[in-house]
Symmetry: C2
Subunit: 340 residues, 2 copies
């Protein structure tokens, strides 16, 4: 139902970004990049969780050299995050980085930028122009466009752009504005969005509102938390908007005075049970409803492929809005799994 | 920064909805309504968490009678949720309900609707036309508008409308459509959005995207969880969009290979410390940043009123982008609180 904006196709290693490719998920490692074994083990956990592209912070030459070793041990495109010193970008390109992120707020000299752009061009890798509202004094859309112009003058168009602020409204407005000014793929995110519970709300609103507009080609949920939570959060945003599927989606009502079962427990049981089935990683959409009463029965949950509406002491198992059978509360989850 | 849509003012007890009033927060009790003491104790917890309007399910005459007793014991407008049997709405109005919610999907006869509308008019209370996509076979915007017409023919305009689907895109499209067709205040929500972790993402995207458009006068985050979580989630959505303030907001970076402190722990410590200060419930905006490195220092976090950027072994305390002093990691949270 979402009409995605047409953008230029940019390749990050083997992952396509833009040009109608599925919205990819990014995260960032949270250990020192020179600590190769810690980085590699975190990247493997992130890959397993569903991450498509990984970024590492490069703050020293040692970090830049580690990228070469890390690349050999992982199976995911790696992006090197560069601030202040453009020479680290050059080192990372030598080490085989699949993409460079530059911050226009702290790498400003046209000569330095040009060196990186020419090296990226030779290596055939893209550069993200990653503007954060805090690190530039000018309007941050203008800051990105000024950078884009420098790149284009060097005939370099393997560009991805991000415009992150910690303020959600500001972030959304900036992306909406830049989406009208160029066709480069956009990397969405809300920066410094805070601890998990607040950060997931801010990221969902900001990234979600833009994706609803058809804006956004790759996303990163930033959370002060385990990066695996960022990937899971990103998957939830994308599946909520039917942009990608990552296994069954559970619809469940909030319950109210009508509900006569412990629905929170039953939903938890269902989530746990699904994890152990072939359905856990199935990629075609599958929606399972768990509803607390007859108001929320087969009719209300007709968008679900299968579900149970609970009454007093039992439930009704239904498929595509049609009643299949009566089930006991005790056997409800088991019967549901059996009938998937 | 959000330009809110102009809507008609409707009063729910002492709470103004629409007409430029602050976006109010709703939740629903999750115990049987006839169990007065359980309902009252849940409502008190919700009030304490920040809930403005509470809804109870009324499925029997006993429930409807309980509303009169509950009202005496609480200090919050109470909405009665009616399905199937319009006579329960009449009973609730007798019991002093502050608002009635009718579901066009299961109360369909014009005569029945008319009886409720006339009783609400006499009692001077509003009615929410609460359409859920699942419980109506026709287009659900049309279903709401058909109901509105019946109300208007009876010269009743104390109307609030909701159009909830479990699909986020469908929900957002429906609200955007109806916002162009009338000026009644809108109650936003995504229905059956699932267990906490998925539900908060779906609700944040759906409610958040609409609020960003200036659409929405009152919100309910539906979660298969403790209703207090619904209220806290709603507060996070509203504060993320600067529509309301509920105490200090913490900005914190996701950390990366640059970070040399345990920022997750430091942010948790800060959250805990704030809870015990006068700032916890302060209503004017206060933004506190906790940043993991110099990239994310005073410049990056200049949107914050106060903050700390950590380096190796110490941090820099800053206010409004200007450095105040160096602090040790051990004393960081304490120094920050002291300097608020």
């Amino acid at each position: 139902m979402i009409n995605r904006r047409k953008t230029r196709l940019v390749k990050v290693g083997g992952v396509k970004v833009g040009g109608g490719a599925p919205v990819s998920i990014q995260s960032m490692t949270k250990v020192e990049t020179s600590d190769v074994s810690a980085v590699v083990s975190q990247i493997k956990r992130l890959k397993n969780a569903g991450c498509d592209i990984i970024r590492v912070a490069v703050k020293t030459v040692k970090d830049a050299q580690a990228v070469r070793v890390i690349k050999r041990k992982i199976d995911m495109p790696i992006v090197c995050d560069i601030h202040f010193d453009h020479r680290l970008a050059l080192k990372c390109i030598e080490s085989g980085a699949d993409k460079i992120r530059l911050n226009p707020g702290n790498i400003r000299k046209a000569g330095d930028i040009g060196e990186v752009v020419r090296a990226a061009k030779r290596a055939k890798i893209p550069i993200r122009i990653g503007v954060n509202s805090g690190s530039t004094s000018e309007d941050f859309v203008k800051s990105a466009i000024r950078y884009v112009k420098i790149f284009e003058e060097l005939d370099f168009r393997d560009i991805i752009i991000s415009l992150k602020a910690s303020d959600v409204t500001k972030t959304v407005e900036a992306y909406r504005e830049i989406s009208k000014l160029c066709d480069y793929p956009l990397h969405l995110g809300v920066t410094a969005s805070g601890p998990y519970d607040l950060g997931i709300v801010k990221s969902s609103i900001g990234i979600g509102a833009l994706l609803l507009d058809g804006i956004g080609d790759t996303i990163r949920v930033s959370l002060t938390a385990d990066p695996v939570e960022e990937v899971i959060g990103a998957k939830r945003i994308l599946s909520s908007l039917n942009l990608r599927n990552f296994g069954p989606e559970i619809l469940s009502c909030p319950t109210c005075g009508r509900c006569q079962v412990d629905l929170v427990k039953l939903v938890n049981d269902l989530e746990r049970a699904i994890r152990n089935t072939q359905y856990a990683r199935r990629k075609d959409p599958l929606t399972i409803a768990m509803m607390g009463c007859e108001v929320n029965g087969p009719g209300e949950a007709k968008e679900a492929d299968i579900g149970i509406a609970f009454g007093k002491g039992s439930g009704i198992l239904f498929k595509k809005g049609r009643v299949v059978k009566k089930v006991s509360i005790k056997n409800a989850v088991g019967e549901l799994i059996k009938n998937l």
